[in-house]
Structure formats: structure tokens, C-alpha cells
């Protein structure tokens, strides 16, 4: 019971601003900036959503939504694939240059991201990927975050199962697929959400590499709907609501894997 009290109290603090934001998406522009503020819409209206989905050739919001979905999913899968392979080697295998490699990879996390922007742009241009979703999917997967993340988790996994498998003559590829990955569901699920989101909310990179509105993702796209001079709060919040839905769904789905993690599977046997 005490736990519930603490949780509920904390939850209220966390949720109140979100509810306010949701409420704002149902306000008129002038009510959004009314003084004193209205905590909840006094005259609820859905026209912000109307403006959002007006969908002209200039602002194909559903198309952007789809682009975002493709880019974020592609990015997420690529991150999971390459990072888990590399992390396995860094956590489980011994090889020449491992420490140096790990040092350099993690070291690049320390370099502020924007240093990479212009060079990456020039490289993407050379590769002929400008103005395509490929430019949104691939370069981000080179980041060190996923590798570092999974390596830390793999380090924490007990090795007994690996060894048992090795004795049975399995090779590392098998161990990776049959032992490590299944044991790492919580970590993989978490990384999936986080990498999906980082791509989903990215707003700087698309500005550099995407020129046609047809290939926009939601963040740069929604900014077009915004007026140039005044902040249209209801529409910003409506856009945020729209953009939140897929991530929350993904979160709900992946959390199931987190919950039925190793504590209930694997090791015990």
C-alpha cells in the first residue's frame, strides 16, 4: 500500500503536464495562451487536429508519418543487428586489439555529435544517398551507444550456459543466436525502443539530407505546418500526440519482453 501511495504521488507529478499538453491540443489558439491559464480546455475544439490532417501536397502528414515509421524501424533493426554482433565479440571473445577497439568506439561517444554533421553530409552526398530514407536509416546505426549498451548487458549475463553449449560443440554463432540473444530480451527490447525513438525524434539530420517534402519525417515536416511568427500551441501538441502514439505502442509491446526477462527463464534450468 505504501508503495502505491509513493507511486501514485509521483505519477501525478509526471502525468499532470502531459494531460495539460493533451488538453492544449483541444484548445483554440487564443485559449492556449489565455491568462490566467486554463488547466483544461474551457471550450474544447478539435480544429488543431483538423489543421494537422488538412494534408495538402505541401504537408502530407500521413506520408511523413509513414516515412518516420520506415526510417525509425529500419534504423532500429540495423542497430540491433550490428550492435549485438559487435557487443558479443567485445563482451565474450578475446582478440587482438579488443581493448583498443572498445576504447575508440566508446571514445567517440565523447565527441559532440555535431562534429560529425558536415563530414557525414559530404559522405552521404558521395554515396548518392541524399534526399532518400537510406540517409536517415544507415549513418545513425554507426553510433557507439548500442554497442556500449549491449556489451554492458552481455557482461552481466552468466557464462555457464555459454560454456555448456561450447562443450556440446556449438560455435560462437550458435551461442550468440541460441543463448545470448534469448537471454538478452530485456536489453534488446530496451535498445529497440531507445533506438527507434532517437531516430523518430531526430530533427537536425533530416534537415541536412532531405530536400523533398515527400521524404520528410515527422519532426521536420510538422515544423512546416507551424506558422512562421507565432507558436501555434494547439497544433504543436496535436502533432506531439500523433507522434507519441507509435512509440507508446512499441513501448507497451516491448515491455512484455522486459518483464519476462531472465529471472523467469533461462538460468534456472
Amino acid at each position: 500500500m505504501r508503495r502505491y501511495t509513493a507511486l501514485v504521488a509521483l505519477a501525478v507529478v509526471f502525468v499532470a503536464p502531459l494531460l495539460w499538453a493533451l488538453g492544449t491540443s483541444f484548445k483554440s489558439k487564443s485559449e492556449a495562451t489565455r491568462v490566467p491559464p486554463t488547466p483544461w480546455p474551457a471550450e474544447p475544439a478539435a480544429d488543431a487536429y483538423g489543421r494537422l490532417f488538412e494534408g495538402t501536397t505541401q504537408t502530407p502528414v500521413l506520408r511523413w508519418f509513414l516515412n518516420s515509421l520506415i526510417a525509425a524501424t529500419g534504423h532500429m533493426l540495423l542497430v540491433l543487428a550490428v550492435s549485438s554482433l559487435a557487443a558479443y565479440a567485445l563482451a565474450r571473445l578475446e582478440f587482438r586489439g579488443k581493448r583498443l577497439m572498445f576504447g575508440v568506439i566508446v571514445g567517440t561517444l565523447l565527441v559532440p555529435g555535431f562534429v560529425f554533421l558536415i563530414p557525414q553530409f559530404l559522405i552521404i552526398d558521395q554515396l548518392g544517398w541524399l534526399d532518400s530514407l537510406t540517409a536517415l536509416i544507415v549513418p545513425g546505426a554507426a553510433g557507439a551507444f548500442g554497442v556500449f549498451f549491449l556489451r554492458q548487458f552481455f557482461l552481466g549475463l552468466p557464462r555457464e550456459l555459454d560454456e555448456a553449449a561450447l562443450m556440446e560443440g556449438a560455435n560462437h554463432w550458435h551461442i550468440f543466436l541460441r543463448v545470448t540473444l534469448p537471454l538478452s530480451k530485456p536489453a534488446l527490447a530496451t535498445l529497440a525502443v531507445l533506438s527507434f525513438m532517437s531516430n523518430w525524434n531526430d530533427f537536425i539530420w533530416p534537415v541536412f539530407v532531405i530536400f523533398s517534402p515527400d521524404y520528410f519525417t515527422l519532426p521536420p515536416g510538422l515544423s512546416i505546418l507551424q506558422g512562421a511568427y507565432t507558436i501555434d500551441y494547439p497544433v504543436i501538441m496535436a502533432g506531439a500526440v500523433l507522434a507519441s502514439v507509435p512509440v507508446l505502442i512499441l513501448f507497451a509491446l516491448t515491455q512484455r519482453y522486459v518483464i519476462e526477462g531472465i529471472s523467469r527463464s533461462g538460468l534456472k534450468g
Binding site: 489558439k29 489543421r51 552526398d125 541536412f208 507551424q226 506558422g227 511568427y229 501555434d232
Partner: protein
């Protein structure tokens, strides 16, 4: 609001538009400005394009409120010119200024676009845009067709790089209900410093802080620049060799703004946009803001408002203004047909800019500005009457870098962290170093 400000003026170019606005907002804007076609055709030399069919990519930052007006103009142009097809792409301004150079580098740049006047020199120096002297000549456009400061603002190092579309000055917006409450005549807003302060005093007695002094560039820095010019000062020497904003006129200007707070005419610590929000909510009587606010205020239900030229606080009239200007982008393979078509397009839009005025702008073209149709746009015309004493930054590459330090000084002073004189003096030393750096970078 801040976007436009931060966007083009310094703040990070970088996609921050998107950052700022992961939201959206349809063209809910000024739809009412109906479709009536304009009569006021400009008088420039007739031009037409007779070559093979071409398509022109036209990029700009006319989102939200502006977008629908320009879109209608482009559609009308396409209808009247079967062999020219203009395709318009719109981006948030800050994104646009980041994206365009990148696209030009990659050989995927647009043919024509719009730039704010204080970005033209920098983009000329960085070879994003092309000189347009021959376009001006072909269209026989001269200073007389516009107004001298607007026309001259598009010249960098002796060559013309842009053709003005509009100017968008500050005006004084006022809340009539609030004025009445304090016993002021809402049809006769203050015109000079004395009247202004007297009005603020009356408002104060009625418990209203009449003019919220905002410490942020939008529009605090613009108010500061305006007052400084009204005091006979300049932000920078005309050739931008040194900064001049810390001289006496500047100190007086900033002191005047800070005194609004000290005398209780403005609250302390005003937040971003709070001044404009306060006006809309009857918390303030006056707000010096851009002409683009017209359509925003029209949408506020039940708000009784008016707009007038800025009061003359100093010894001479002056007002900050921006200006949208046409530019033509550098291409890997220049196409003479496209260039010829671009001329026709620029001239045609400029000639039809009365439609554009309805978006909340003052047409740059004199003939249109002086037409009866423009005068009928009461609010726009009121602000437009300031045309002869608008000021622009010197046309020097990287000038925005130096004026960004002014923003910081205004911020520190209006938030009462530094005295106006100290803030400006420190900023001037910094600005001078930046100007010197830029001379080295772009070649003096």
C-alpha cells in the same frame, strides 16, 4: 515570433526550426483575405518567356500564415504561364537557411528562393546565391521602383544579389480595451516619447503595466535598434568596420527600455513571447511587434486592437524592418532558359504583391504600395507609412554574428543583470572582434 528571429538571425540554423516546432499549424491563418485578383500591376518593363517549357523549383520559408498567400500566387502564375511551371517547397525558415547551402553544394539546390535581407550578403559571400544585376536590368527595375534603403540592402560588394519582395517593419500594436480602462483615447495612441510615457503613467495608475519590456531578440533587440536609430545612432558603422551601438544613442536607448521596468511600466523578467501574450490578454496596452502580427491578432476572439506607426521616442523617426527578397541560386550547370523564366516569375510576383500584402506584409514595390488597394488594407498601410525611415543592417557578410552579441547585451540589461552601459560596452568589444574575424574570413 522567436522562430523567425532565432531562425534566420543567428541562433542555430541547424534544424532548430524543427526543434522548435515539432508541432504544426495549418494554414488556419488568414484565409479571409479572399481571392480577389489585384488590379495594381507594376509598371516595370513587360517581360515574357517564350523558350521551351521549363520548371522552376522555388523554395522559401513561408509556412503557416504566409504560405497559403504565396501558394495562391504561384498557382495563378502557373495558370497564366503555360510554359513555366513553378513548384514551391516550403520549410521552416531556420531549416531553410541550413538546407539551401547544403542542397546547393550537392547540386540539388532550387532555382529561385526568398531570403531575408540580412542573410543576403552572407549567402552571396558563401556563393549560395548569384548576382542579379542583369535581372534587375532586364526588368528595368531601379531604386525608384522600391525605396532606397530596401533596394540598396540587396547589394553586396557592388553587385546586386536580391530583388525585394516586401518589407516587414515593427509597428505599435495596442489593446483598445485596456487603453479605455485607463482613460486613454483608443483612437489616438501616443505618437512621441512624452505622450508615450504619459500614457504608461496613466496605465500604471490604473494598475496596468503598459509596455512589457522583453529581454529576447524577438522583439526586444528590434526595439533597442529602433530606439537607437531614433536617437541618431547606428548599430554598426556603414561599412561595418566597427560597432557603434555602445555609443551614447545606444546607451540612451537601452536605458529607456530598462527604465520601463524601473518605473513600473513593465514587469521584471519577462519571458519569451510573454509581451505579445500579455497584449492579447489585456495585461499590457502596447506591444511593438512585427507587421506579421496582424493576422494573428485578427484571430483572437473578442480582442479590440489597433496598430499605429511606432511612436517617435528619440529625435527622429525610425523603425526596425526585415525584408523578404528574391534570390537565384548557384547551379552546377546554369540553364539560360530557367534564368529567363525566373526573371519573368520574379517580376510577375513582385507586380502582384498586393495579394502578398494581405499576408501581413508591406509590398516593396512602390507602385503597389501607393495603390488605393494597399491603402485599403488599413493595418498594413499604417505600418507601411514608416517606409522612408526603416533601417537595415549593413550589407556585410556575417553581420548577423556581430548583431547576435547585441541580443545578449539587451538580454543582460533588460533582465537587470548589467547596467545598459556596461552591457553594451562589453558587447561592442566582442562585436568588433567578430567583425574583424569576418573580414578575414570573407575578405574585406
Amino acid at each position: 515570433m522567436s522562430l523567425d528571429g532565432l531562425t534566420r538571425r543567428r541562433a542555430l540554423g541547424l534544424g532548430l526550426g524543427a526543434l522548435v516546432l515539432t508541432g504544426c499549424g495549418g494554414g488556419g491563418g488568414p484565409r479571409q483575405a479572399a481571392q480577389q485578383q489585384t488590379g495594381a500591376q507594376a509598371t516595370a518593363a513587360p517581360t515574357s518567356y517564350t523558350g521551351p517549357a521549363v520548371s522552376l523549383a522555388f523554395w522559401n520559408g513561408f509556412t503557416g500564415g504566409d504560405g497559403p498567400f504565396m501558394k495562391r500566387l504561384v498557382e495563378q502564375f502557373n495558370g497564366e504561364h503555360p510554359n513555366i511551371k513553378v513548384a514551391m517547397n516550403v520549410y521552416q525558415w531556420s531549416d531553410y537557411y541550413t538546407k539551401v547551402p547544403a542542397a546547393v553544394t550537392a547540386g540539388q539546390g532550387p532555382d529561385i528562393g526568398i531570403m531575408h535581407v540580412d542573410s543576403v550578403a552572407t549567402n552571396a559571400a558563401r556563393q549560395v546565391v548569384l548576382p542579379l544585376d542583369d535581372v534587375a536590368k532586364a526588368l528595368s527595375l531601379t531604386e525608384a521602383d522600391f525605396s532606397p534603403p530596401v533596394w540598396q540592402a540587396g547589394v553586396y560588394k557592388g553587385a546586386r544579389y536580391s530583388i525585394p519582395l516586401d518589407v516587414h517593419p515593427l509597428g505599435m500594436f495596442y489593446n483598445k480595451t485596456v487603453m479605455e480602462k485607463a482613460g486613454l483615447d483608443p483612437d489616438n495612441p501616443p505618437k512621441n516619447g512624452e505622450e508615450y510615457l504619459a500614457a504608461l503613467e496613466k496605465l500604471k495608475k490604473a494598475g496596468i503595466q503598459g509596455h512589457w519590456a522583453t529581454p529576447f531578440p524577438f522583439t526586444g533587440s528590434m526595439q533597442f535598434g529602433t530606439l537607437l536609430h531614433q536617437n541618431g545612432g547606428r548599430l554598426f558603422a556603414d561599412d561595418a568596420s566597427v560597432s557603434r551601438f555602445a555609443e551614447e544613442p545606444g546607451v540612451q536607448a537601452l536605458t529607456w527600455l530598462v527604465d520601463l521596468i524601473n518605473k513600473g511600466y513593465s514587469p521584471k523578467n519577462v519571458g519569451q513571447d510573454a509581451d505579445f501574450i500579455a497584449l492579447q490578454n489585456g495585461k499590457a496596452a502596447f506591444n511593438w511587434n512585427g507587421i506579421w502580427s496582424i493576422n494573428t491578432l485578427r484571430e483572437v476572439k473578442g480582442l479590440e486592437w489597433g496598430v499605429a506607426p511606432l511612436p517617435q521616442i528619440g529625435t527622429q523617426p525610425s523603425a526596425w524592418a526585415g525584408s523578404h527578397q528574391f534570390v537565384v541560386f548557384r547551379q552546377r550547370k546554369p540553364d539560360q532558359n530557367k534564368l529567363a523564366a525566373a526573371k519573368v516569375f520574379i517580376n510577375w510576383i513582385s507586380g502582384h504583391s498586393i495579394e502578398w500584402a494581405k499576408a501581413g506584409q508591406v509590398p516593396a514595390r512602390r507602385a503597389i504600395r501607393e495603390s488605393a488597394e494597399f491603402k485599403a488594407l488599413k493595418e498594413q498601410a499604417a505600418i507601411g507609412s514608416q517606409i522612408d525611415y526603416l533601417y537595415f543592417l549593413p550589407s556585410v557578410a556575417g553581420i548577423g554574428d556581430a548583431s547576435a552579441v547585441v541580443d545578449q547585451a539587451v538580454n543582460a540589461a533588460v533582465l537587470l543583470k548589467k547596467s545598459p552601459k556596461d552591457a553594451l560596452t562589453e558587447a561592442a568589444a566582442k562585436a568588433d572582434k567578430i567583425l574583424e574575424q569576418n573580414r578575414k574570413k570573407y575578405g574585406a
